[in-house]
């Protein structure tokens, strides 16, 4: 199962990087969020998927699943969620100011 998850993470990385390298702002933001999803899945799979019971003491199980990676992923998801929201607003505002969402055509002053 870990191998499948790693391949999924790799696919997400690849498509994320491809989208980040494109020129439209919206595609870049989508690429960024795919990239962070890839990171989250990778984080889960390198630390092992479900290996035992839930990490509660009264389960009396022989082995428990490590809850720390999930906690890390949860924190990271919250952060990437807020970042995506912010960058979408930023992209919209940039589009309104510059009249384009092509990153190559963003210019500050006329002579640049």
């Amino acid at each position: 199962m870990e191998i499948v998850m790693t391949i999924i993470a790799g696919t997400l990385f690849t498509s994320g990087v491809y989208l980040i390298l494109s020129k439209t702002l919206l595609r870049i933001i989508l690429g960024l969020s795919l990239f962070t999803h890839g990171v989250h899945i990778m984080l889960m799979s390198i630390n092992g998927l479900k290996k035992g019971a839930a990490p509660l003491l009264d389960e009396q199980a022989a082995s428990y699943t490590d809850p720390v990676p999930q906690a890390l992923i949860l924190t990271s998801i919250v952060i990437s969620f807020s970042l995506t929201a912010f960058s979408l607003v930023l992209a919209y505002r940039t589009y309104r100011e510059h009249g384009t969402d092509n990153i190559e055509k963003l210019r500050g002053q006329d002579h640049e």
Binding site: L32, P69, F86, R93
Partner: protein, 491 residues
């Protein structure tokens, strides 16, 4: 256990959040933010006193002992950096009182500056590597908003670039933490260091350390600095000064912490790469600093040069060079804040940042002229100012270890730094004045308090080096001998 350790990040966070409720009351916001920052400075001075008297102070958050909980660890390096960061923030805040307009004051510029300070102080103090990531994000999120605040076309464009770079590097940071966790099974930095020292630093661990170096290098502006000159010249001067003084320094701190505490075992790979990256950073930064004729760009490239210089000291990794690196780091936070504040004032008075269109400011702004002259000399490392001692110690450490080429490069770039800041000085202050009657009386008075404050520190740090050195020495002890840090966390 010492509850004082949490205050340098709690006070800015608490006040920063409470300031959101006083959106239109600028005066009240200024008082709260200013007094809160002063309180943070006082507390961090007390913290320095405690650390120097009774060793590293640790606070296990929520009573969970290490390695299970998240500890806040105030060793001397962290305590000094927290103090300096708070002082520079106070200077930038006072500068901002006069400088930034209603449109930014009304849109939470002060609360964001406080939360930025919280993120910076938290990054310095935390002893948990995932917590370091979280504080990086606190700092970066408020810097995104501060950078885009006001929404000019240049600002928006630069924010887009800055945010894309930082999201990618933060994702890689999380990934590196995940790898590190799967190798060592812990997130506490002292515990990671202990386990890597026990099981040896194998190829995989070194690869992860290089990933971390890349991440911190992106944040610090080490070699991968292509985003820096644009985004540091876009926002208004107080915010640019805050960024230049604090943001890259947090990346440098993270590199120092991880490569002295966690990954010091394979210096022939990691530290060699660090060395070459720092040399390239210095060279490329110097080329940028002499090539441009705009004040903001020249100053931004000066930030890059000093990053390379500090990390040259870190890469040599002897006691002498680390002493120099910490000293220079402290100096650079103050001096970069100062020169950005003064440069921003020049731009404000002249109405342009193109050097060829500014002339003769000395006639109407003699005090500004002298402040700029002193800070320019300090940046270049002219004795007796603070830059000299740090440069001297780093170079001494490098030459003793036989890095003659790198030492030569750093000396050459110091000369080019002097050239670039003197270019600003000569072009903007000497010559016939181009100011019209109205502009001669235009503002620029707000610069005096923060300018004097930071200039006094630069001069004091240089003249009083004898008094400061024991603290720097104590800061370097845990870097040379990580066991001190580990023992303090687990005691």
């Amino acid at each position: 256990m010492n509850n004082l350790v949490v205050l340098p990040l709690f006070i800015p966070l608490f006040l920063g959040v409470s300031l959101f409720f006083f959106r239109t009351k600028y005066r009240l916001q200024q008082w709260i933010a200013g007094l809160g920052t002063i309180a943070t400075i006082i507390i961090s001075f007390i913290l320095i006193g405690q650390v120097s008297k009774s060793g590293i102070q640790v606070l296990h958050m929520g009573g969970w002992e290490a390695p299970y909980g998240i500890p806040l660890v105030a060793d001397m390096m962290a305590a000094i950096l927290v103090t300096v960061a708070s002082i520079v923030t106070l200077a930038c805040l006072i500068f901002a009182f006069h400088f930034i307009g209603e449109e930014r004051k009304g849109h939470y510029a002060y609360p964001l500056m406080m939360i930025l300070l919280c993120g910076v102080n938290g990054s310095f103090l935390t002893g948990d590597i995932f917590n370091l990531f979280v504080f990086f994000e606190v700092m970066l999120l408020s810097s995104y908003v501060l950078l885009s605040l006001g929404g000019g076309r240049v600002q928006l464009r630069e924010t887009v670039k800055y945010i894309i770079i930082n999201i990618v590097s933060s994702s890689l940071f999380v990934l590196a933490i995940g790898y590190l966790y799967s190798i060592t099974g812990t997130l506490n930095m002292a515990h990671i260091a202990q386990r890597i020292a026990e099981q040896g630093q194998d190829g995989l661990t070194t690869t992860v350390s290089l990933l971390l170096m890349m991440v911190f290098g992106l944040k610090a502006g080490l070699f991968l600095f292509f985003w820096l000159p644009g985004s540091y010249s876009a926002p208004p001067a107080p915010i640019a000064a805050l960024f230049a003084a604090l943001l890259t320094k947090v990346g440098i701190y993270a590199i120092i912490r991880t490569f002295t505490l966690i990954f010091p075992h394979q210096p022939e790979i990691t530290h060699t790469i660090l060395l070459w990256m720092s040399a390239l950073t210095m060279i490329l930064g110097a080329i940028g600093a002499i090539a441009y004729w705009r004040i903001k760009q020249i100053l931004a490239y000066n930030v890059i040069i000093s990053v390379g210089f500090i990390l040259f000291g870190v890469a040599v990794a002897t006691e002498a060079s680390l002493n120099g690196a910490i000293y220079y780091l402290v100096h650079d936070m103050i001096a970069k804040g100062l020169i950005f504040i003064l440069g921003g004032t020049i731009v404000l008075i002249a109405g342009t940042d193109k050097l060829r269109e500014i002339s003769g400011l000395v006639r109407y702004r003699p005090i500004l002229t002298w402040l700029f002259f002193i800070s320019a000399l300090a940046l270049a490392g002219v004795p007796p100012l603070s830059g000299f001692i740090g440069k001297f110690m780093i170079l001494e450490g490098g030459v003793n270890e036989g890095y003659y080429l790198m030492a030569g490069i750093s000396l050459l770039t110091s000369l080019l730094v002097l050239y670039s800041v003197m270019k600003i000085f000569i072009n903007s202050f000497w010559g016939e004045t181009l100011l019209s009657e109205g502009e001669q009386k235009s503002s620029g008075r707000g610069v005096l308090i923060p300018g004097f404050m930071l200039t006094a520190l630069v001069v004091g740090l240089g003249l009083g080096a004898e008094a400061v050195m024991p603290y720097i020495n104590q800061a370097v002890e845990p870097l040379v001998n990580p066991q001190i840090y580990i023992d303090a966390v687990f005691s």
